[in-house]
């Protein structure tokens, strides 16, 4: 195996050194002292070199000397499992704060894995920016809203009509904020994405986007969902036309009409699934209330407390229903989502370059389902390990010979352990997210190609300062924390 890789490298080296002197593999003193995993690294080098040989040569046509054809490729990032585990442990040790720095390292690796003409994208955001954005949202939005709703609950009383109206307003406000946050997060990511030193960006007002997001959302229930293709096309148009690379704006020319055929299939399937799902929910709800009524009658008309097993069963049923519902959505919507992505890509242009996506429903589904499996596997593993450790630690603490805790201190230690365990388990669901994010991005990028070419010399960096100056509150408010 190792021999074969070496041979391959040698062959590649032989051929690449002949090709216009471009980017040959340097084989140098450092090579001798190469550390572990040399095989993997060699294989990756073989791939990147092969890729560069094809893509990195500027295409110089007679008429336009600055034009370059674009090739997008994905160089699978190495060590995402190690990074996942490292970030997970550090998040626990720093009480969650490392999250933002861990996320930044994941992004730097995923961005670098995206190659345009063999050269990587660069993510220039920092953990500090994400953290500041989070603090701003926390103290500027979440905490005030929480205090406000607490005050309202005290003032108006939970359960009253006035409080209900307040809650409706609150949810509407959150919907409006969601649109704004989507636009701001996109702006944050784009303005911290560079290729060949040129920054991408997002112009336009996030309020306009947020407002459009909000009012078109209201049309969904009114049209039984049939405004969805129109709505997503409208939002995509707003977003894409705000996007730019350097000084060059993206354009978007899609209409929603071709999306209606796949949407109709999706809608019918969803409606059938929803009816089946509701029937099951209604049936089990009726069975449950009959059961409860029987218990109440037995208890002489007094309400009865559910015992723990019953409550656990109920909660489990609700989560199972949500999970099945989510799974149904993912499966049934895959064809429509794939069609939408291909349609949007086909109608997106950057100067002389157009995009072509070949994502398929099967591919999207495979990625989504295997990603779920990976996340659940990670969480299960952590649950088993952490739960087992806690289970083993408790008797040791209770044993007077070992830790010598009296009954009261044992109770305290046990509750401290359960708090830590809860914290670890909440974090464990996201433990392998770096891997799944890399897989999803990789799938989309491997299925994306560019048709046409770009006049590189005409794309300027733009007036935006490229220095790190001015990264104060204003830029931090391009939040990406949610």
């Amino acid at each position: 195996m190792a021999r074969r890789a070496m041979d391959q490298i040698a062959r590649l080296r032989a051929t690449s050194s002949g090709s216009a002197g471009q980017l040959q593999l340097p084989c140098l003193p450092a090579e001798a002292a190469r550390p572990r995993h040399a095989l993997v690294t060699l294989q990756r080098e073989a791939r990147v070199t092969a890729m560069d040989r094809f893509h990195s040569v500027p295409i110089t046509t007679g008429a336009n000397p600055g034009r370059e054809a674009l090739a997008i490729s994905w160089l699978k990032p190495f060590g995402m499992l190690g990074l996942s585990l490292y970030n997970f442990v550090m998040r626990i040790l720093t009480l969650g704060i490392y999250h933002f720095w861990g996320k930044t390292e994941v992004r730097r690796r995923v961005w670098s894995a995206i190659r345009v003409n063999g050269e990587p994208l660069e993510y220039t955001g920092t953990g500090r920016e994400l953290f500041l954005g989070f603090l701003l949202i926390l103290w500027g939005v979440l905490v005030p809203v929480m205090l406000l709703s607490l005050g309202m609950a005290l003032l108006l009383g939970p359960g009253t009509t006035a409080f209900g109206a307040f809650q409706v307003l609150l949810y509407a406000g959150f919907m409006l904020l969601t649109g704004i946050a989507i636009h701001r997060a996109q702006r944050f990511r784009l303005s911290r994405t560079r290729w060949r030193g040129i920054r991408a960006g997002l112009d336009g007002s996030s309020w306009t986007y947020g407002w459009t997001y909000f009012w078109t959302l209201l049309t969904l229930p009114l049209t039984l969902g049939w405004s969805a293709p129109w709505r997503s096309t409208k939002l995509q148009r707003l977003m894409t036309r705000d996007m730019r690379f350097g000084t060059q704006h993206f354009t978007f020319s899609a209409s929603s009409k071709p999306l209606y055929k796949p949407f109709a299939l999706y809608w019918v399937a969803m409606a059938a699934a929803a009816i089946g799902f509701l029937a099951i929910v209604a049936g089990s709800g009726a069975a449950y209330s009959t059961l409860m009524q029987a218990k109440i009658d037995e208890n002489g008309g007094n309400p009865v407390d559910l015992d723990t097993a019953e409550i656990a069963g109920l909660v489990l049923t609700i989560y199972l229903a949500l999970f099945v519902g989510g799974l149904l959505y993912v499966v049934l919507s895959a064809w429509y989502r794939a069609a939408t992505m291909r349609h949007f890509a086909r109608h997106t242009h950057l100067e002389g370059a157009g995009f072509e996506s070949t994502v398929s429903a099967r591919g999207l589904l495979w990625i989504a389902l295997t990603n779920y499996a990976i996340l659940i596997f990670g969480a299960t593993l952590v649950t088993l390990v952490a739960g087992g450790a806690a289970y083993a630690a408790l008797p040791l603490l209770a044993d007077p010979a070992m830790a010598g805790l009296d009954e009261e201190n044992f109770g305290r230690a046990a509750s401290a352990i359960s708090v830590i365990l809860g914290f670890v388990l909440v974090l464990s669901l996201g433990m392998l997210l770096p891997i799944t994010q890399a897989r999803s991005t990789g799938y989309l990028i491997r299925n994306l190609s560019v048709i046409g070419s770009l006049d590189m010399a005409s794309i300027a960096a733009g007036a935006e300062p490229t220095s790190k100056r001015g990264e104060g509150l204003a830029q931090a408010f391009d939040i990406d924390a949610l």
Binding site: E45, Y98, E105, R108, E122, N302
Partner: protein, 369 residues
Amino acid sequence: MPYDTEGPRFDGRFSDGQTAAAHNVRVAFHERGLVILRDGEEQLIWPYGALATAEPLSTHAVDALVSYRYQPGASLFVPSGGFARRLAELAPHLTTSAARRRAATPWLWAAAGVVVIGIAISAMQLSPARTIASMMPDNVRNALGERTIRAMTEGRKVCETPAGLRAVDTLSHRLTGAVPTGNRFQITVVDWGLVNAFATPGNRIVLTRGLIAKAGGPDEVAGVLAHEMGHGIELHPETGIVRSIGLAAAVELMLGGGGTVGNLGAMLLQLSYSRQAEREADERALDMLRGAGISANGIADFFRRIEGLSAGSNEGDGGGGVTGMLSTHPATADRLRRIAAAPRYPSTPALSPADWQAMKTMCGTPAGE
């Protein structure tokens, strides 16, 4: 001036950051920095200390995208693992481990500090929730209490025969007459089969019909009432609410939600006090009972009785209610021993037979079952 460079040269692509065009260059390592050799233009030297890379450099790196702090926008891409590894040796701040150390170290210290402070607070038996609770103005405590009582009595009858209310009042005044803090309690009896008693914020107490029915005599009700008053005096309900609001808020913030924290009634029903809180309430109760000249045996008798009931009856009849009382007020052997160990004193029944009868019948049905 040109820099002499020995050793290997690498092929790279250089962009000046003005446009998206790229040029082929040769790169070499010099002791002062990275030297970039451009065709027909003067060479650049980028000192190692001011370099940054797109990705932290690892031993698996197959290439490096380098930028330089003092030439913003410019970038140099060198597709060579050997280059990346040599760069990591010369500019160690670009390696994965250095980047991680920089990011994590301050937060590790901060987390250690938080843990130490947390341990100190719990070791000194300080309770931030209790401090906040004690700072709550009276009208907030009253509003909270009123809310909670309304939530608990919703859909249930409040028992208020004049004779019954008089009896409850008599008992309450007898108990609080001996309290040095001067707390006065407002007591509500609810027509509810559940065997339980709740202290709510703002010095309010809810007694259930089930509890009065299960009690063997006025001393037992007096004991339970004194215990709940003890919770009230020690501000346990307020502390519990502050703590659960804090916890719920923390969980919501952690999970990124921003929903509502409003369900006070349910929150209070689920509150269970720590052993220490139970002990404090018991101590207050014993003081009150002694001051009022009511036997302390009542409270112990009551707990033994409902414990016997829950052990003896598995069938539905109120059994759930009894376990409810036991789960919020665990009658540990420790507690019963403490009560039994209290010094004896001369005592009289907590209520006259007529008042006791009035209390038992205040929910309409003769509560003897």
